[in-house]
């Protein structure tokens, strides 16, 4: 069971630690009047910890700390506001849209975007909600298959997902906790590569990947796949995880892979691409190098699992490509 690690009470993740402790600093001083009433009957010992409570004077009046569900509610309303600005998956735009973002920006970025234009023609943005790697990867993958109609991918993926399922069960996950997510993703794959009849249209794929009831569930599928792979090869991933955080493998998966909104790093990408046998190229848009440098290089890194089918490999048109800018992934399309 995911739950049995027991250490669940411990907030190890520095980020969540901040969030859970900060709002509480002004928290109530807990022994309120109710505490006193109860004490009256029983008498002893408590005085030492009681602030000098004199009906209403004891607790300094301050703004009441919002309850956690209120905080969550507020977070959700902020998210909803963000959602109004940017879909989970945007429209395909010419690369010039990216250039426009940096019009008055850093020279290195401008030079690099120009250089990027020699290889890539379009970009599709994703919402920066911490799920952008998984969502971008999902959309790029499904869109690729929609175009290629490579029917060998369906049985291959089914097989992969079955393996992942067995792995999760072997680690101790209860099947009903992840099955629904796997199913929703398979539904999308089958709509893109139908065994009979017509595939869905690209705009239908966009609609689905923008619908939280589909998109978030499919993202969660990728998180489960990633978590299963990291845990299956715990020995391999452990040093990388220790380098990133101070968490053990299990705790890392629980706090940095499985929760929605947790950002992806090399560990996640390696695990996901290995587990599914789908390569991905990450192109880095950063400030390294100088703008006037003739030999300005745009770095990229290919994640190529050994088991990848030929059709997805680098040097084919099937290679999925994501553009990385610190903290965010968008989808890139070759010219």
């Amino acid at each position: 069971m995911a739950s049995e690690s027991g250490a669940t009470a411990v907030v190890l993740d520095p980020k969540s630690d901040m969030q859970s402790s900060v709002p509480k600093l002004g928290a109530n001083s807990s022994l309120s009047e109710e505490g006193l009433e109860l004490n009256d009957g029983t008498g002893e010992g408590e005085e030492s910890v009681q602030p000098n409570v004199d009906q209403g004077v004891a607790v300094p009046a301050g703004p009441a700390r919002p309850a956690d569900d209120e905080i969550l509610l507020q977070e959700n309303s902020i998210k909803a506001e963000e959602a109004g600005k940017m879909e989970f998956i945007g429209d395909k735009e010419p690369l010039s849209a990216l250039a426009a973002e940096y019009e008055r920006g850093n020279e290195v970025f401008k030079a690099k975007i120009q250089k990027l234009g020699e290889t890539y023609g379009s970009i599709r943005r994703t919402r920066g909600d911490g799920n952008c790697f998984f969502r971008g990867f999902m959309f790029a993958y499904l869109e690729r298959l929609l175009h290629s109609q490579d029917k060998t991918e369906l049985p291959r993926m089914r097989d992969r997902i079955e393996r992942c399922k067995q792995e999760l069960i072997a680690i101790g996950y209860t099947p009903f906790t992840f099955e629904d997510f796997l199913e929703i993703f398979m539904d999308q794959l089958e709509s893109v590569l139908p065994e009979e009849g017509q595939p869905i249209s690209l705009s239908e794929l966009e609609v689905r990947c923008r619908d939280p009831n589909v998109s978030n569930w499919a993202v969660m599928f990728f998180r489960f796949v990633t978590s299963a792979e990291v845990q299956r090869r715990a020995e391999f991933f452990e040093p990388f995880i220790l380098g990133l955080t101070n968490l053990d493998v299990k705790k890392f998966c629980q706090t940095s892979v499985e929760p929605m909104g947790e950002e992806s790093d090399h560990v996640h990408i390696t695990a996901l691409t290995d587990a599914l046998g789908i390569p991905v190229r990450i192109v880095y848009l950063d400030r390294s190098g100088g703008a006037s440098d003739d030999a300005l290089e745009i770095n990229h890194h290919d994640f190529v699992p050994e088991s990848a089918p030929e059709s997805f490999k680098p040097d084919t048109s099937g290679l999925l490509t994501l553009l990385y800018r610190p903290g965010h992934y968008d989808i890139l399309y070759s010219l």
Partner: protein, 158 residues
């Protein structure tokens, strides 16, 4: 709706698997989104001998978002709000994932009773006792409230 079918699966699982005798967990008769749990205070803690009632409210997009859990039984613990019963537990907030179930959340709350986290207190007085190393003070307070508020709590026979 996906959350409903997931909750029914959890309901079936809870009914099937009764080996965890420290937890009695059941949904409202007319509303699968509202659950009640009774958890036993763990042995070798000042909560031993007490039974604590939790109310669990499940949001519509569960299990993508966590349930809201409150402790209805008065308890003296650094991570439970003394007045509202709000529980400070990472998995109920940022570290939530659908891999958790209502049952495993209850187990996590029991684990929290055994392992108080005085550095992120909701009950500052309790947290201060622990941080000051006054284990004896903490234990006697916690035991007293267990005796006063939690020793008579009994789950309905279901």
């Amino acid at each position: 709706m996906a959350s409903r079918s997931r909750l029914f699966k959890e309901f079936k699982e809870v009914q099937r698997d009764k080996k965890d005798t420290d937890i009695v967990l059941f949904p409202d008769e007319s509303n699968i989104y509202r659950w009640t749990a009774y958890i036993k205070g763990p042995a070798e803690t000042p909560y031993d001998g007490g039974t604590f009632q939790l109310s669990i409210n499940v949001p519509e997009n569960y299990p993508l978002t966590p349930p809201v859990v409150r402790c209805n039984t008065k308890i003296f613990h650094p991570n439970v709000h003394f007045k509202t019963g709000e529980i400070c537990l990472d998995i109920l907030k940022t570290a939530w994932s659908p891999a958790w179930t209502l049952q495993s959340v209850c187990r996590a709350v029991i684990a929290l009773l055994s392992h108080p986290e005085p550095d992120s207190p909701l009950n500052c007085d309790c947290g201060n006792l622990l941080r000051a190393g006054d284990l004896r003070g903490y234990k006697s307070m916690a035991r007293m409230y267990t005796k006063l508020a939690a020793s008579q709590v009994k789950p309905p026979s279901i």
